[in-house]
C-alpha cells in the first residue's frame, strides 16, 4: 500500500498499462514533455519514448481519428482530451466512427481506444474547463463510459480501460486529482472489481444515493452528516455509466425504497434521468418516494464565481434526502 493522489494513481496505472502491453500508446496535447496539464502522464515519455507517448498536434478530431487508425493497425491508444469542453471537435470521430466501426464491420474490427477526459467543475476555471458531458457518450451505443471516484479505482480502472477491447470513455474527476488515499499497487488486476461494476461505498438502509466521479466523496460525506440525523444512506459509486450496473442499483433500491441520484452534469436528459426511469420501471413496488435527482441546473456552466451555487454539494444532497422522506 502506498499513499497516492488520484493524479499520481492514474500515472502509475498508465505506467503499468505501458509496461504490460508493448502496443499501448499514450497520445494527446502536452502529454509528453510537459506530462499533461494535470501531470497525469508525468515522466512517461521520458521512460517509454516519443513513439509511445506522443505529443500530438493541437486538434482533437485528429487525436481520435489517428487513434482509430493506430487501433486498426493493432495498437491500443490511450488518448487524452485536455479538458471536458474540448472534446467536441472530436465528437464526430467518437460518435460516427469509433463507436460504430465494430458494428459496421460485423465484428471483424476491434477498437481498443481509451479516451481520458478530466471533467467537472469546482476549480475556478474559465469557460469550457468545468463541464460534465458524460451523458452524451452514454447515449451513444458502442462506447463504454466509466468514471473513477478515488485513487484506488483510478489506478485499477485506467488499467482495465486500457486492456479493454472496446472504446472506453474514461472520465476523471479533475477537482479530485489532488485527493490522497491508500492504493495497493502490488496486486494485479486479476482480483479487481470489474470496470463495469458499481461498488457499495457506504452500506445503509434508508436511502440509496447513487453517484460517480467528483460526487463520490461529497456523497460519502453526506452519509456521515445524515447519520448524525439518524438517517442511514447507502452510497453507491456507479463507476460505470454505460453500461449501468443495474443489478446493484435495483438491489439497493428494493432494500431502501428511496433513491437519490447525484451528478455534476445538467439533470435534463442526464444519467440521473435514465436511472430514474429504470428504477421506476423495475422497482416500482418497492419505492416509497419518487427518484430524485441532484445535479446542475439546465444552464450553461456559469462563471466560476457562481459555481458553488451551481454544483451539487453536501447540503443539496441532504435536502434531497429529506425530501424523499416527505412523501
Amino acid at each position: 500500500m502506498t499513499t497516492l493522489t488520484l493524479s499520481k494513481a492514474l500515472n502509475e496505472g498508465l505506467r503499468k498499462a505501458l509496461e504490460n502491453d508493448p502496443k499501448a500508446l499514450i497520445m494527446g496535447e502536452d502529454v509528453g514533455k510537459l506530462g499533461g496539464v494535470f501531470r497525469v502522464t508525468d515522466g512517461l515519455q521520458k521512460d517509454f519514448g516519443e513513439a509511445r507517448v506522443i505529443d500530438t498536434p493541437l486538434a482533437e478530431s485528429g487525436i481520435i481519428g489517428t487513434a482509430i487508425g493506430l487501433a486498426l493497425r493493432g495498437y491500443r491508444p490511450i488518448c487524452e482530451i485536455q479538458f471536458d469542453g474540448f472534446v467536441f471537435p472530436a465528437f464526430d470521430q467518437i460518435v460516427t466512427q469509433l463507436a460504430k466501426m465494430r458494428y459496421r464491420s460485423l465484428g471483424t474490427v476491434r477498437l481498443p481506444v481509451t479516451i481520458r477526459i478530466p471533467f467537472g467543475g469546482g476549480i475556478g476555471a474559465v469557460e469550457h474547463h468545468s463541464e460534465s458531458p458524460e451523458a452524451l457518450f452514454a447515449h451513444t451505443p458502442g462506447l463504454r463510459v466509466v468514471s473513477c471516484g478515488d485513487p484506488a479505482d483510478a489506478y485499477t480502472m485506467i488499467q482495465q480501460a486500457a486492456a479493454c477491447d472496446d472504446p472506453v470513455m474514461f472520465f476523471e474527476p479533475k477537482r479530485r486529482y489532488w485527493d490522497k488515499a491508500e492504493v495497493d499497487t502490488d496486486s494485479g488486476l486479476a482480483g479487481a472489481l470489474p470496470m463495469d461494476s458499481a461498488r457499495v461505498l457506504v452500506p445503509g438502509t434508508d436511502v440509496t444515493v447513487l453517484c460517480y466521479g467528483p460526487m463520490v466523496r461529497t456523497c460519502a460525506e453526506a452519509a456521515v452528516a445524515a447519520s448524525g440525523d439518524g438517517k442511514s444512506l447507502e452510497v453507491i459509486d456507479l463507476r460505470s455509466l454505460a453500461p449501468l450496473d443495474t443489478e446493484t442499483i435495483f438491489a439497493s433500491v428494493r432494500k431502501t425504497g428511496r433513491c437519490v441520484v447525484v451528478h455534476e452534469a445538467v439533470v435534463t436528459g442526464g444519467i440521473g434521468a435514465e436511472i430514474a426511469a429504470q428504477v421506476t420501471q423495475e422497482c416500482f413496488y418497492s419505492l416509497e418516494a419518487p427518484v430524485l435527482r441532484v445535479g446542475a441546473y439546465t444552464t450553461p456552466y456559469p462563471p466560476s464565481r457562481l459555481e458553488d451555487h451551481y454544483l451539487p454539494d453536501l447540503d443539496r444532497i441532504l435536502d434531497a434526502v429529506d425530501r424523499t422522506f416527505a412523501y
Binding site: 500508446l25 513513439a51 500530438t56 498536434p57 486538434a59 478530431s61 485528429g62 481520435i64 481519428g65 489517428t66 487513434a67 482509430i68 487508425g69 493506430l70 487501433a71 486498426l72 493497425r73 493493432g74 495498437y75 471537435p89 464526430d92 470521430q93 460516427t96 466512427q97 460504430k100 466501426m101 465494430r102 458494428y103 459496421r104 464491420s105 460485423l106 465484428g107 471483424t108 474490427v109 476491434r110 451505443p141 458502442g142 463504454r144 477491447d165 472496446d166 463495469d196 453500461p243 449501468l244 443495474t246 443489478e247
Partner: protein
C-alpha cells in the same frame, strides 16, 4: 454608377476566367501519359514501362468496373438497391491507383471506390450489400487490405494517417516497406479532418498517399465553392509534394501513384495526388445533376472518356485484336449477370442480428433488449397459432 457597373462586370469576368482554366486544367500542370485520343506521350518525371498484357489487364479492369456500376444503377432503378453512388467517369483514377498498390499496402476508401475495391479483390456483392441495406459494409478490412467504406466525408483520412503512424511504429518503413493510401474527393478537402490528416501526416512523416479524385462536383457544388487554389497546390502549405494527374488516364494514375507509394514506403513521407477527373453521372441515384450543371460540360468530358482512350491506344498500336475487346465485354457481362442474380437473391439479415457486434461482449442491458425483442416477435407467432 457606370464605374461601379464596369467594376462589377470586370469582377464577374475575372471569376469566369478564373473558373475556365480550372475546369480545363492547365496542360503544363497535368501529368498525362495517354491522351484522350489514345496517343502515348512521355513525361520526364513519370516514365512507365508497361507491356501489352498489362495495358490489356487495365482495360479489362476498367470495363468490368464500369459494368458493375452500370448494373448497380439498374438494380437501384428496379428497387433492388436503396441507393448507389456511381463512379462513372472515375474508372481510370481508381484502377490506376488500385493497381499501383502492393499486396501489403492498405487502402482507406470513401463510399465511391468501387474500382479500387475491384482491384483489391473485394467481391462486388459486398458493395451491393451496403447499398441494399443488408449491412453497413461488413467485410474484413484485413482480408484484402481494403478498409470499410466511410460515408462521413473525410473521416477516413485520419484513420489512414493513424494506420500509417502504426506502420512507422512497426518499423515497416524503408526496405520492403508498407504504405497507406487515403481516398477522398474535392468536397472533402474543405473538411477539418482532411486538413488535420495533412498536418499529422506531415509532422510525423507518415508513409501515406492522399489520393484526391477531383471530380469537379460535390453533389451540386462546383470546385470553386471549395477552393480558390488548385487542390494539389495545397500540399505545399502542409510541407509535402502535391501533383496533379490526368484522372482519366489510367497509365498516368498508375505511374504517379506507384511513385508516390514507393516514396512513402521508402520513408520520404506523404504525397498529395489530385486526380483531375469528372463525375459523369449523378452524385448518387437520388441526385439530379440537370438542376445545377450544363450538359455541354458533360459532353466535353465524354470526349476524354477514360476507357475509350485505352481502347484506341490498343487498336492503334495493334496490341490487341478485336476479339480481345469482345472477350472483355463478354466477361464484363458475365460479372454483371452474376451480381444481378446475386443481388436479387440476397436475403435480409435476421432481425435479431441488429443486436450483434455493438461491443466485444454483450452488456446485460443489450441482452435484455434482445430477449425482449425476441419475445415481442414471438408474441405474433403465438397469436397466429391461437387463431
Amino acid at each position: 454608377m457606370a464605374v461601379k457597373d464596369a467594376g462589377r462586370a470586370a469582377r464577374s469576368a475575372n471569376r469566369a476566367s478564373a473558373r475556365e482554366p480550372e475546369r480545363q486544367a492547365d496542360p503544363a500542370e497535368l501529368i498525362q501519359l495517354l491522351t484522350p485520343e489514345g496517343e502515348r506521350v512521355e513525361h520526364p518525371d513519370y516514365s512507365l514501362e508497361i507491356s501489352a498484357d498489362e495495358v490489356k489487364a487495365l482495360y479489362r479492369d476498367l470495363v468490368i468496373v464500369r459494368r458493375i456500376d452500370f448494373e448497380a444503377i439498374a438494380l437501384q432503378r428496379q428497387g433492388e438497391l436503396g441507393i448507389w453512388a456511381s463512379l462513372l467517369g472515375q474508372e481510370a483514377a481508381q484502377v490506376g491507383a488500385g493497381r499501383a498498390l502492393g499486396a501489403r499496402d492498405m487502402a482507406f476508401p470513401t463510399y465511391r471506390e468501387h474500382g479500387v475495391a475491384w482491384c483489391r479483390g473485394l467481391d462486388p456483392m459486398k458493395l451491393l450489400e451496403l447499398f441494399r441495406g443488408v449491412s453497413h459494409g461488413g467485410w474484413d478490412p484485413t482480408a484484402h487490405n481494403f478498409h470499410l467504406y466511410t460515408i462521413v466525408i473525410g473521416s477516413q483520412t485520419l484513420h489512414a494517417t493513424g494506420y500509417a503512424m502504426g506502420i512507422q511504429r512497426d518499423g515497416a518503413v524503408g526496405e520492403g516497406g508498407e504504405a497507406v493510401i487515403a481516398f477522398f474527393g474535392d468536397g472533402a478537402t474543405s473538411q477539418g479532418d482532411v486538413n488535420e490528416a495533412f498536418i499529422w501526416a506531415s509532422v510525423s512523416n507518415a508513409p501515406i498517399v492522399f489520393f484526391c479524385q477531383n471530380n469537379q462536383w460535390a453533389i451540386s457544388e462546383p470546385l470553386e465553392r471549395q477552393s480558390r487554389t488548385p487542390l494539389y497546390m495545397r500540399a505545399q502549405g502542409f510541407g509535402f509534394p502535391g501533383v496533379r494527374v490526368d484522372g482519366n488516364d489510367v497509365l498516368a494514375c498508375l505511374a504517379v501513384t506507384r511513385k508516390a507509394l514507393q516514396a512513402a514506403r521508402d520513408g520520404q513521407g506523404p504525397t498529395l495526388i489530385e486526380a483531375f477527373t469528372y463525375r459523369m453521372g449523378a452524385h448518387t441515384t437520388t441526385d439530379d445533376p440537370t438542376r445545377y450543371r450544363l450538359s455541354a460540360e458533360l459532353e466535353a468530358w465524354k470526349l476524354k472518356d477514360p476507357i475509350e482512350r485505352v481502347k484506341q491506344y490498343l487498336i492503334r498500336t495493334e496490341q490487341a485484336e478485336m476479339s480481345f475487346f469482345d472477350e472483355v465485354d463478354a466477361e464484363a457481362a458475365a460479372v454483371g449477370s452474376r451480381i444481378r442474380a446475386g443481388c436479387q437473391r440476397m436475403p435480409d439479415p435476421t432481425p435479431d442480428s441488429m443486436f450483434d457486434n455493438v461491443l466485444t461482449s454483450e452488456t446485460p442491458q443489450l441482452a435484455a433488449e434482445r430477449a425482449e425483442f425476441a419475445a415481442y416477435l414471438d408474441s405474433f407467432l403465438a397469436e397466429e397459432g391461437a387463431r
